[in-house]
Symmetry: D2
Subunit: 151 residues, 4 copies
């Protein structure tokens, strides 16, 4: 039986906007949001005991097959953003995550939303089943919360 996403399939990652993230207008470049999504997603895995780099060494990759972003309000250098990542769908070889970026301070405004479809592939880049020992924790709650200095 394939595990299913639950109300616990959600984590929040904090990102600090760097100067290099911004563009000619002084606002975060639109490609950088995908990096924020990715950081939140890898953190999501880590807090459930799944170290992305370790999986990679075993020849298991979660490759991005499709990505979508809607930009709501500009983020600027110095902003602190909360990136909420939610696992919304899991099939044998794919996982779909949704993201919400909210400015932490001062206004809690929605900055961007998006989703990515991931496909589990091997070293040969062909789709393969997500291993059960990865799928099960993926749907559950955080089991490895971060130390305060990392949050």
């Amino acid at each position: 039986m394939l595990p299913k996403p639950t109300p616990d399939s959600r984590s929040v990652y904090t990102v600090h906007v760097r100067f290099r993230d911004t563009d000619l207008m002084g606002i975060v470049h639109h490609a950088v949001y995908l990096e924020y999504f990715e950081a939140a997603r890898i953190e999501y895995l880590r807090r459930r005991g799944a170290e992305y780099v370790d999986w990679t060494k075993q020849g298991i990759h979660l490759a991005v097959a499709e990505a979508h972003t809607q930009y709501r309000r500009p983020a600027t250098f110095g902003d602190t953003l909360a990136v909420e990542a939610t696992l919304v769908e899991l099939t044998g070889a794919t996982a779909r995550f949704e993201y919400r970026l909210v400015r932490s301070a001062p206004d809690r405004e929605l900055v961007a939303e998006g989703w990515t479809l991931l496909v589990c592939v091997g070293n040969d880049n062909r789709p393969r089943r997500i291993p059960e020992e990865l799928a099960a924790p993926l749907c559950g709650p955080e089991t490895h919360p971060l130390s305060p200095d990392r949050q």
Copy 2:
């Protein structure tokens, strides 16, 4: 009367994959495709006499409001990619571009596809009408082709 996209509303830009574009698997990171799309789009404008930086200085920005990408096949360091940018829709304040990335050599394989919705905004980040002197050439053919060393 608003100008409309024509069969000439298309340009091809060549991009060379850099090592830093690649990730842990040695393939181009998915966020980088948006940079390739952007380079092709700005080149599209330039070949029609519209220098993006000049427009920015006049307080006219084409901000990305929405972006979508489908990843078909991995691109790796050393690949040369042809990025085809096509203007498919123009309204008073928005422009929609579609993109196709094809590996130039050796196989002409489709690497990725996508689109971006752009909104014309002023320095206050509020939507505003695309100036006519920008809209007209946007729909037409290339008038400023590049010198051979830039193609």
Copy 3:
């Protein structure tokens, strides 16, 4: 009289390594350290009341003229790094900053060291005197410390 650096000409900025910062080996790409240095330097200015983007709008830029980095130990995804930026020299048109990157946890190891020489330039990219209202706070202590969520 030109102000001089003091023992207070030092600030520490916290950076969280993102996945996209890392390379094929899973360690932080060497070019990214210059982004960390920059983030720490701009934060240094901000904590002394000098908003970099505001200065840019007034046509005052601190352009990097020379940069040097020594890489001591690899940093990896998920590391929290403390970047110490120290102003060590100020002349009429130049400022020299030194940097030390230390892993916050678990080991306090030195990850990298470096320095950058900055030249004050105008919009014409020609060297010009650093304005006194920028030079004075540059040498002093932090006057605008960050809120807890930003540190």
Copy 4:
């Protein structure tokens, strides 16, 4: 006997400045030059039959231990740059490359200069001898020149 650099230990790589390479001032961000140097260096190896990714898979890495850059003139979006990489020193476990960036058109101006010191390390990140089958071609002439579309 350790091979030594020769007058043939030099290659030129062409880089096209992307929009995302530029900063708030519309000029190439200073950290990006290290990416240009790297691209030229990996291309240097490739033209001598040494595929960097293949060496990585065998557990041989050329890690950057020290990097230095002097910025001479700004480069902007759309510039084509010629990056000259020269191997100037080879010891048992280290290699030193020097770089010169020249704008291809219209003016042949020197944009930047720099050097990097590389240390050969294994998967354990400890220094190790550069394998002879890598050292010998490193000092020689190009044996695998690129096809025209890649130059």
